[in-house]
Symmetry: C2
Subunit: 284 residues, 2 copies
């Protein structure tokens, strides 16, 4: 997906939110001015995460803080880990544990400090358990999954990653011997998950964790590491989480299943759904 | 009031809304990039309307359309004129017609295409008639008004101007012989009222209409015309409508009564009220 006019406003809103975490009004204005300068010079045809990369770099550079979101990320993982036993019960008690774990993995996508000004995780969990989403591709997903020996799972945010863990455990329980490669960001960007936070929640024991090499809130295939490209090509199944990964991977050549919430009016419009809808999208 | 970090995001959101009226995605992106360039170079310490001036000029210049809001402005006046007889009855039937007309003049301030993404005029009218606002200065306002021979009324938006007409008629009915000078913008900016639209709704028969000279959504005293400055100085009472006029006139030397809705989180925070609150503010 290419940047649309709305993305410019959203980018500046995100700079403001990030700057507020790292300093006061004067600092925020300095960040906003520098970000405006970057927006003015942005080449055409970028994806939204490519726009996000230099924008968030500004806040890091002006503040000298490498990861302004580090405390938020830690708390997000802690809170969802505290919910984990309860979430696990919902999955085990359900008629179709794989489907329930998948819906909850989409619910977890609500934990996003970038795309929205605020989020309501409790509502998302309740929507996952009680409301319908766009899950028409689920039967196909399940059958492809059952034939898979190697799965590439492209992660998105902290907090959400704990829901991913539950989904991954459910997949392993169902399939038995399966190799899962978990791809995470190469460096801190918004509240996106990097190697450290994926290990913190215990995913190192279930998967091989590899960084994509990206310091942007998405996965631009041509700029990923050789290792990522190799797994992307050879995996039997690719599961991609969240809007930023969808925005950057939806035009690649291979088959992907995307799990995301449509968090902004632009993404909702393109996918012909309402803002906040839960989507399992199949790209052949 | 000086520009705060939130104003940068709001400015870009307003450019997007204005650009959407005048063209498609590519046009909107061109406007947003040019506006970003301006934001990056903006001197410190401006008021929000001073920031709005070059931002909206961009849309005019790139589109070649002098007044992208002209149709909106026409419709806003037409709709409120259609409501006029009903509004007039509400004023005449009330215990204190002056107070009711004043509250309705604040309700009319909802008709603002700039400060908010959307507005709900019906809710505003109902809030004016049924809910409490911050009207503690009303007794003082009424007594000052009764001693006034010359009143300067600084207008804000189209649509709203029809409510102003009702308020002005109510003032004239109460005071009898009084001179009312209605100050309007010098040229088209957002949906702000200029001389043409003030005359369209019949205000030329009740007041002397003068342009402030401003092509910005506010009134920067040092840049107004000599005629405006003279009236501003010699009027017995100055009534100023809306947020943009408050943002620019609140630090001037003379006594002013401001009638406005707090339409953004920044203005609400400064005035220690909630967003959407109705305010009659007295500046001594």
């Amino acid at each position: 997906m290419k940047v649309l006019p709305e993305c410019y406003v959203c980018a500046l809103r995100q700079v403001l939110a990030a700057a507020r975490l790292a300093g006061g009004d004067d600092f925020a204005i300095a960040c906003l001015k520098k970000a405006s300068e970057i927006l003015a010079q942005l080449p055409d045809g970028l994806t939204p995460p490519e726009m996000g990369e230099p924008i968030y770099r500004i806040v890091r550079e002006i503040s000298g803080i490498r990861d302004p979101f580090s405390l938020q990320k830690k708390r997000q993982n802690e809170v969802v880990l505290a919910l984990y036993p309860w979430l696990e019960e919902r999955v085990k008690d359900s008629d179709d544990p794989l489907l329930t774990a998948m819906k909850l993995a989409i619910a977890g996508n609500a934990v996003d400090t970038g795309a929205q000004e605020s989020f309501n995780l409790m509502k998302s969990i309740s929507d996952a358990l009680e409301k319908e989403g766009r899950y028409e591709a689920y039967e196909l997903f399940r059958s492809k999954l059952e034939d898979s020996k190697a799965i590439l799972y492209v992660a998105d945010n902290c907090g959400e990653i704990v829901f991913d863990k539950l989904f991954i455990e459910t997949i392993i329980r169902r399939l038995g011997a399966v190799e899962i490669i978990l791809a995470v960001r190469g460096g801190p960007i918004i509240n996106d998950v990097t190697e450290a936070e994926a290990k913190d929640v215990g995913l190192g024991e279930l998967c091989e964790i590899i960084p994509t090499g990206m310091w942007m809130p998405g996965t631009l295939l041509e700029k990923t590491t050789e290792a990522f490209k190799r797994h992307f090509e050879r995996a039997d199944l690719v599961i991609s989480k969240g809007q930023g990964n969808w925005e950057t991977l939806e035009e690649t050549d291979r088959e992907i299943f995307f799990l995301l919430q449509a968090k902004c009016p632009v993404v909702a419009r393109i996918n012909k759904c309402d803002e906040g809808n839960f989507l399992l999208l199949h790209k052949p």
